[in-house]
Amino acid sequence: MNGKFALEARNVSKHFGGVIAASEVNLQVSPGELRCIIGPNGAGKSTLFALLCGIQRAESGDIFIHEHNVTQMQPFKRIRLGVGLTFQTTRAFQDLSVRRNLAIPNPNLAVYKEGHQRGAKRLQIALEGFGLDPSDDTRAGELPHHKLQWLAISMVLAGYPDTVLIDEPTAGMSRDETDRTTEVLKQLNAHGLTIVVVEHDMHFVKSVAEKVTVLHQGRIFMEGNVAEVTANEDVKKIYLGHAH
C-alpha cells in the first residue's frame, strides 16, 4: 500500500450529548509503526478507534487511510482499504465455530490486489503464535477468555489488513498470556503490519511500543517515545500516577 501515513485523523471531533469523546484529534500513524494509545478511562480511546473504522461517524474533521479520504465511507469499505479493528470486549461470534469465525472476513480476499502473501503469512504467525487451529470446529463460546481474545485478533488478520487497531488485547489475561500476546504482536509488526493498540497495561506498553500517544478528555495530550511519556509529570498526574 502507498501513502505517507497508513492512517490519519485531521481535526476529528465527536460528542455524545454533553460528553466530549474526541476533540480536534490529529493523529498520524506511519506504515509499519507499532503505536500505543494510553489514557484514563473515558479519555476517548475506544471512540477514536470506532471513528477511524467508521463504526461511529465523526461530526467534523477528516479521516484518511493511505491518503484516501474515508470520512464518509461505510465501515466495510474502509476495512477493504486494509484496516482492521478488534474491540475492547471480546466479540468473536460465540455461536460459530473457530473455523467459521475465521472465514467471515475471507470474502474480502479478492479485493486486495497485492499483499496476499504477506497477509497470509501474518495470519499464519498469529494462528501459530496463539495456538489456534483454523480448521477447529469447536464453538467459540467454549474457548477460554484469552483464546477468545486471540481468536478476535486472528479474525481481523484473516481479512489480510495492513493496519490493525487493537483495543485492550491483554485485558483479563495472565502475565504469561500477556507475554505471548506481546510476542505475537511484535512478530506481526516485524512482518510489516502497522499496529495501533489501546492498552492500560504499562508493562505491555513498555515492551512493545515505539511511540505512545496519550489521550485525555478526547484530546491528544502528548505524543512521544515510552521514556518521554512515562517521565512526563503531567501524564503521571492524569494517568500513570492514578493507575500505577
Binding site: C53, G54, Q74, P75, F93, Q94, I104, P107
Partner: protein, 300 residues
Amino acid sequence: MELDPLALSLIYQFGTNAAFLFLAALGLIVILGMMNIINLAHGELMMMGAYVATIAHNQAGLPFPLAVVVSFFSVALFGTVLELLIVRRFYGRELGALVVTWGLSLVLGQGTFLVFGPFMPAIKIPGGSYSYGSFSFSEYWLVLIGISIALVIGLYWLYRYTKYGLQARATMQNAEMAKALGVPTSRVYTLTFSLGAGLAGLSGALLAPTSTIAPFMGQQFVAPAFITVVVGGAANVISGAVGSSVLLSAIKTPIGMAFGAFLGTVALLVAALIIIRIMPNGISATIQKLMDRRRAASIS
C-alpha cells in the same frame, strides 16, 4: 403387510399439521428468529403472496408453480422497499418495530379490501386425492409436505454453507464486529428482511389453494407462526422451527383426531405454554445445551 388406514391417516394428518405450522412460520423464522423483529405484518405478507399467486394463476393464466415463484419474488421486492424505507429505522427498537409493522398490517389489509373487495375467487386445489379405507389423502398436501422438507434443507444450506449465510449469522449476532470484519451489514439486513418477506409470500401462495382468498386471511397464520418460532427458539432458528412444528403437530394431531379440531388446537396452545415454561429459550436452545454438555462430557 397392510397398513391400518387409521394409522396412515394419523401419519398423514401429522405431516399436514407440521407442514402447515412450518409454512406459516417460514418468513417469520428469518424476520423474528434471526433479525429479532416482531413483524406483525407477517400475515399480510402471506396474504400478499396468496393474492399475487391467485391473480397470476387465475387472471394471467400462469401455471400454478410459476405463480408461486412470482409471488416469492414480488413479496421479496416489496420487502426490500419496506426495509429500505421503514424497517431499518427500527433495528434494536423492538417496540417501535412492533408498532410500525402492526400499522403496516392494517394498511395492507384495508388497502387490499379497498382495491380487491372482500374476497377473491380461490385457486382450485391442484392434483387429486387418494382413498384408503374410509380416509382420503390430498395429493396437494403431500406435495406441500415434500416442499416443506425441501425448504428446510434449502434454508439450512443457505445459512450454513454460503457466504451470505455466514455473514447474516455474524451480523445478527453482533453487527458491530461484523462491520469491523468488513461485512456490509446494511446490505445483509436488507437481503435478510427481503428473504423473510419473500418466504412469507411463498408460503401464502402455497397455502392459497387451501384457504379463502380474502384481505384478512393472513390473520389465521399469525398465531401459529409466532407460536412455532417462539417455541423453536433463537439458538438455531431453522432446527428450532422444525422441532417445534414436529412436536406441536405430534400433540395436536392425535387429540384433534380423537376429540375434534377445536380441542386439537387447544392442546397445541397448552403444549406451547408448557414447552415455553420448561424451555424458556425454546427447543433449539435446549438441544444446543444438551449437545454442549455431551461434548464437554466426551472431552473430560
